[in-house]
Symmetry: C2
């Protein structure tokens, strides 16, 4: 049975303030736990229903992760999902430093004020699929360890490096690598031959690339619509899917 | 003021059963109304706040659309949005017939049991962006006029033809056009030169392409992940974004 204190500790991690202070975050569900096991993220504690524990005893033992059985009703109390799924874990946050060592041969993503948790998670998932090893977030992006972000990465959060930085801190006159930005007056991405390494900036859902980052863009690109009179834009996650697909195509 | 009867009529369209019977559906918000005005969809009636009506009087007059002022509180009662936005309209559904006249020079989408309204709407929006003129839905797709589908098309529902059909009814031994399907053992899409016309089948979110449609696939394709040991798949909408981008790239 969950003690009052445990209940309090777990639910305190539902808020950003406490996640920041404790440097911890929550992971939920069977699928996410498989990905967590595969990763080298530090797992503090697992709360799970008996049948899940039975199936995963060997894994828990091997990794020496403390585990406490909970009932379905208890899981409901600590879960943030509308349909809790067997298991919830507390894991340690990671604060990676930006590493631009491979910026001459790889593409990195820079997220400029992405605010929607679902978009953020989806973009991290796309980055993982298309072989982007590092995603850099502006300080005003939605929190990486927001439970909705974590869940919508579908586990990719454990596989790629995500860090925070101000874009201008990464770029000096001497850096010399391209900084791509999606802009309406940009060049057609399908014909952009140097789109093989550098940094791709993905703008905010409503406002696009921020004023302060616009002067840092060296290569303006766009995904051309089929018809020129097209009123709409693609959303941030869909545009990322297309850009990263173009990046991978050049490598394959 | 809204009469009891009006309130009842509008909210009855919150359910599929009544939408089907009346062949009507709901549209909400300023942005969607602009798109509706641009289209030739029949608009039965508009319910809007005074300030919206003032701005749009000319449009309403030109199109002879009856309009009734409502208060913010009344709009809340008839709206399905968590944050109602000025206006709600009732419009007439359309049941287009599949037209394969251009299947030799264009790509059509076939949605095989897409169940999530957000995915369905996003896919219709992507089809519009990338110049797909026709989307064909299997009979077990989520209802096209589900308000969540309608809203997440961002207006593209008014611009492209969406119809319903059983895939095997569209294909005979003599048709001769390729039917593409995303399958794990498929050919790399980036090198698939004939991906310029035919039908692309998008499978269900959990189960992929259905058993009955698998034998109809003539060209198995896949989006290769960056790393071969990749456990995850792309979701239906993201995969559609990548496939349609590849299609457009060949045209540009």
């Amino acid at each position: 049975m969950l003690s009052k204190n445990q209940l309090k500790n777990i639910t305190s991690l539902h808020t950003k303030k406490n996640r920041d202070e404790e440097q911890l975050f929550l992971i939920e569900g069977e699928k996410m736990m498989e990905e967590l096991f595969r990763s080298d993220f530090r797992t503090e504690m697992v709360f799970a229903q008996e049948d899940w524990i039975e199936k995963n005893e060997a894994q828990l033992g091997r990794k020496k992760i403390p585990c406490q059985p909970v009932t379905e009703a208890e899981l409901k109390k600590i879960s943030l999902l509308s349909a809790p799924n067997k298991v919830l874990a507390i894991a340690g946050q990671r604060r990676g430093e930006v590493d631009l060592a491979k910026v001459g041969s790889e593409l990195y993503l820079y997220l400029d004020a992405i605010r929607d948790p679902g978009n953020m998670g989806t973009i991290i998932r796309l980055a993982h699929w298309f072989g982007v090893s590092q995603v850099i977030c502006s300080p005003d992006c939605v929190e990486l360890y927001n439970p909705k972000v974590v869940q919508s990465t579908m586990g990719s959060i454990f596989s790629i490096r995500v860090c925070e930085a101000v874009l201008s801190d990464l770029i000096s006159d001497k850096t010399g690598f391209p900084v791509f930005g999606a802009l309406l007056d940009g060049e057609n991405i399908y014909g952009k031959d140097n789109f093989t390494s550098g940094i791709l900036v993905i703008g905010n859902e409503s406002n696009g690339i921020s004023e302060k980052n616009l002067p840092l863009i060296s290569d303006r690109v766009k995904i051309p619509p089929a018809a020129e009179n097209h009123a709409e834009s693609l959303n941030a996650a869909m545009a990322t899917a297309v850009f990263l697909s173009e990046y991978l195509r050049r490598k394959k």
